[in-house]
């Protein structure tokens, strides 16, 4: 009874990171479908276009040109249509300050970008599972916080 395909949107300006992420996602057992965008402005254009189906989970890099991850997160949480979307910050920063700021601004998940493939696979599996629990388990979305 899992959803047919989990729609994933990844916003990351680094091409290597995008490929790495897509490969890891591809290798999971879970059925997923990925769309990628290269910067914050492209991300907001995609999300605000009502012809596009909203992703089940947005993976958002913090350091991006044009509009950074925090700015995007602010815009998403202020938008009636987007504010309930699951947002996972996907960043190289392991600084407590960034992690806390992300959660205070309304992120649901914070992932420190892993450097090896297996850790990334595990992190993605965990995030998909946790998100699934929150969607189906009647858990409170306002307190959905998960750091990995």
């Amino acid at each position: 009874m899992k959803p047919i395909k989990t729609r994933i949107l990844l916003a990351d300006d680094d091409e290597d990171d995008r490929l790495f992420f897509a490969d890891a996602l591809e290798s999971l057992k879970a059925e997923t479908e990925i769309t990628t965008v290269h910067d914050g402005e492209k991300l907001m254009e995609f999300l605000e276009d009502e012809n596009n189906e909203l992703p089940h989970i947005l993976f958002l890099d913090l350091n991006m040109p044009c509009k950074n991850g925090f700015e995007c997160l602010d815009a998403i949480r202020l938008s009636e249509r987007l504010k309930h979307m699951t947002v996972a910050i996907y960043s190289t920063s392991a600084e407590e300050r960034d992690i806390e700021t992300a959660f205070v601004k309304g992120a649901n998940v914070y992932i420190r970008k892993p450097s090896d493939f297996d850790s990334l696979k595990k992190a993605l599996t965990d995030v998909l599972n946790v998100n699934w629990q929150f969607h189906t388990g009647g858990l409170n979305r306002d307190t959905f916080l998960f750091s990995i």
Partner: protein
Amino acid sequence: MKLYVKYDINLACKVILQEKLEDFGIEYELKELGEVEIRGTLQPDLQKQLEAALERYGIRIVSNHKNTLIEKTKDIIIEMIYEKEKLPNTNISTYLADRLNHSYGYISNLFSEVTYSSIENFIIIQKIERAKQLIIEGELTLTEISYQLNYSSVAHLSNQFKKTTGLTPTAFQRIIKKRAGAR
């Protein structure tokens, strides 16, 4: 300003169910944990109307035996976690088996098969969810919360909280407070 309310989900659902059944003039008897005995049978038309009326409250009619058993298992666990006095003196597996009249092995396998998660995992998730709620309500200290949720110590609760959410209870509390302040 913000109000924090406490509610009894079981009671709320029961009242809604009773009101709706009475609205439709259905003769019924409420059994425990989401079982309703209907006198006679429901016309398909009437059942559809009832389903529609209940749907807006998030109440669904589940007829399938397997699903019903899973729903009951979840209800018993949630009831146990939310009402301290319902915590059994025996271990949870014996308690579930007694209440549901099936062996724990059967219940546990069925649960994993249907929900893709083990009963143990479900219990942990629900306990942490409850802990989050109690932390936000702010009436109890962490020590009291760990006692209420049957943890052997605060350290045990903190560890499980950290394992489940990636955050310590204190960091969680700080974030939720800051969030409330930022809005």
